[in-house]
């Protein structure tokens, strides 16, 4: 048999039918559902008198709109409240398992899937959310879909897909201390550009990826979409398998052994061919800080805000100039001279226990700078929150003047009350620095949890390696 990549293996295992036109009908093992991109899909089912094909393949949670403050009185915003009530009602009437807002297992959809073992190696995983690429860290084929496809998956348990090209991004060697998975992700996007992965399924490999925990791999795969690739993935190894042992939705007993034997085949064959291979030297990656309004606009913390006039591509030059104007930054400004107004530690990129530990290690025994109006820590799930509290991390944050909140997407996209005011500048562990993403007129700098924590203490960006 010809050598196959991990992507080929996952694809082949899910082909229901090859269509004559070059597409294939692909079976979906796990469909994750949240409140924002599902109501119109359920409505579509009702209008056509259709039922979900397989209710037990779905798992729903409300995360985008939920308040991160006291939830005992419900949601103040009536529009957000209606959307969450609509999800509750849809799940009830169609028999879909939902972790409701006050369930201790509630959290960001891309945190709870792996945490519950609801997304497993070898699965196809989809969700009406672009950061579904996160689940590729398990050795799964996972990507975001629009609402029409949410409806298609609900009704048929399949998607009509055309196979993507295959790309290997190999991060070779070891990263230096205090350089995190987020820095690797941002460095990759800085190198490839936000459209560099368009049309590709990316496999992340190399020693530096192998050395990452599952949390770290999720951070890297999460941001594959920021490099333009719908899905990112990492081969299964002992780290993957150990992560899933004992998780609520993971197999047990004989089925566990059977699953593990299969999972061990989920890697690219040694002579498998990729359509494109990109190498990065891990040792050369520094902590990263984005300066502009696209995740590709990123520099090492030792760097400076770049000068658009040095850019030869005219389209890129215009984008850079526009970004500098929006961000109110001057070319040549050292990154460490940029002061921040708010700090956000959270999101599906960086809200897992390891992220909170990394941030807490920097914060311990220190205090938030006076010029930082708000430093927000939003755990990715109720279970992450509980674990962090058991380790005393919440106290480290609150003693330093940070706020410790309830789980949700929060200020990553500011659909709830957590947002930037016009002109405010934020060190954020989220994934997108688009104009207005964290609130109209807000200015986002993407960083790792440790770098965000250090910025909150210093009041401006600092090199966490010297902090």
């Amino acid at each position: 048999m010809t050598a196959r990549t991990l992507y080929d293996k996952l694809w082949d295992a899910h082909v229901v039918r090859d269509n004559e036109d070059g597409t294939a009908l692909i079976y979906i093992d796990r469909h994750l559902v949240h409140e924002v991109t599902s109501p119109q899909a359920f409505e579509g089912l009702r209008l056509e008198n259709r039922r979900p094909w397989r209710t037990d393949a779905n798992l729903a949670v409300a995360d985008h709109n939920v308040p991160t403050t006291d939830r005992s009185h419900g949601i103040a915003d009536p529009v957000s409240r209606l959307q969450i009530e609509t999800l509750d009602e849809n799940c009830r009437s169609f028999g879909i398992t939902e972790f409701a807002m006050n369930d201790p297992r509630q959290g960001i959809v891309h945190v709870i899937g792996p945490e519950q073992g609801a997304t497993l190696p070898g699965m196809t995983v989809v969700c009406g959310d672009s950061h579904t690429s996160t689940h590729g860290a398990m050795g799964a084929l996972a990507h975001g879909i629009g609402t029409s496809e949410v409806e298609h998956v609900l009704a048929t348990q399949t998607l009509v897909q055309k196979k993507s090209l295959r790309m290997l991004v190999s991060v070779d060697g070891s990263v230096r201390p205090s350089v995190s998975a987020k820095d690797i992700a941002l460095a990759i996007i800085g190198r490839m550009g936000t459209a560099g992965g368009t049309g590709y399924a990316i496999e992340f490999g190399g020693d530096a990826i192998r050395a990452l925990s599952m949390e770290g791999r999720m951070t890297v795969c999460n941001m594959a979409i920021e490099a333009g690739a719908r899905c990112g993935m990492v081969a299964v190894d002992d780290t993957t398998i150990e992560y899933f042992r004992g998780r609520p939705f993971a197999p047990t007993g004989e089925q566990w052994d059977q699953a593990v034997a299969y999972w061990r085949t989920l890697h690219s064959d040694p002579d498998a061919e990729f359509d494109r291979v990109v190498h990065l030297d891990a040792a050369s990656i520094e902590p990263q800080v984005s300066w502009g309004t696209s995740p590709e606009m990123v520099v090492p913390v030792s760097g400076q805000v770049p000068n658009p006039f040095r850019e030869t591509d005219p389209v890129r030059r215009t984008s850079m100039a526009r970004a500098l104007e929006y961000m109110a930054l001057e070319p040549g400004t050292p990154i460490t001279a940029i002061a921040v107004d708010k700090v956000f530690i959270g999101s599906c990129t960086n809200s897992r226990i390891e992220d909170l530990r990394a941030a807490a290690a920097v914060v311990r025994g220190r205090s938030k700078a006076d010029n930082v109006k708000l430093a927000l820590v939003v755990p990715g799930s109720g279970l992450v929150k509980r674990q962090a509290e058991a380790e005393g991390l919440d106290r480290i944050f609150t003693d330093a003047g940070f706020e410790w909140r309830q789980p949700g997407c929060s200020m990553c996209l500011a659909m709830n009350a957590d947002r930037l005011e016009p002109g405010e500048r934020c060190a954020s562990t989220s994934n997108r620095n688009f104009e207005g993403r964290q609130g109209q007129g807000g200015r986002t700098h993407l960083v790792s949890p440790a770098m965000a924590a250090a910025a909150a203490i210093a009041g401006h960006f600092v090199d966490v390696r010297e902090f």
């Binding site: 229901v16 039918r17 036109d21 070059g22 009908l25 079976y27 093992d29 924002v36 991109t37 119109q40 409505e43 094909w53 397989r54 037990d56 529009v79 957000s80 959307q83 609509t86 497993l120 070898g122 009406g128 959310d129 672009s130 990507h143 975001g144 879909i145 629009g146 609402t147 029409s148 496809e149 409806e151 009704a155 048929t156 348990q157 399949t158 055309k162 936000t194 459209a195 368009t198 979409i225 333009g228 719908r230 939705f249 197999p251 089925q255 566990w256 059977q258 699953a259 299969y262 696209s294 389209v315 984008s319 526009r322 996209l413 659909m415 997108r432 104009e435 207005g436 993403r437 109209q440």
Partner: protein, 213 residues
Amino acid sequence: MRAFTRHEGLVAPLDRANVDTDAIIPKQFLKSVKRTGFGPYLFDEWRYLDHGEPGQDCSARPLNPDFVLNQERYREASILLTRRNFGCGSSREHAPWALEDFGFRAIIAPSFADIFYNNCFKNGLLPIVLSEGTVDRLFRAVEETPGYRLTVDLPAQTVAMPCGELIDFEIDGFRKHMLVEGLDEIALTLQHADAIRAYEERRRREAPWLFRA
């Protein structure tokens, strides 16, 4: 779904690269549980000078006179001309819903983000990829010529310029077929319900852990 065969319309130039879906339809409008009514909020943060909220009557809001869609000559545009990597960012289908609700039928750019590109086809909206050089030429033509119109012919895979010059474009056969015929993809897939059941049966034997309730 609304079919797309041939469309002739006014072109509006949006001279920005990497236009993301947060810009196309900001997050506060995603709280709607409906599929329609997003047009008035398309490009909300660029189009208006104030902050918009869902349900707001946009007719009384202050317009940003510098934004291209607010200029009189582009008011009736139905073809959007823009730069590379249009539609990057989130998977929100509200982005094509908003473009379609505003009145756009086609978008021309050197490249599109994957998920957005795919979402367009589900909503009768045609994304057309043309080379950077051709897009540059069209930008110049649109700016120099008030009332500049193009004719898109999907079956023929051409864009016709007013001078009669035809520009060819590529598109996947299956996407073209779905759009030209305006087909319901779910109904088509359900024609293969037996194949899906057969797959499930085989898979249940090979990988039973995937079917634990």
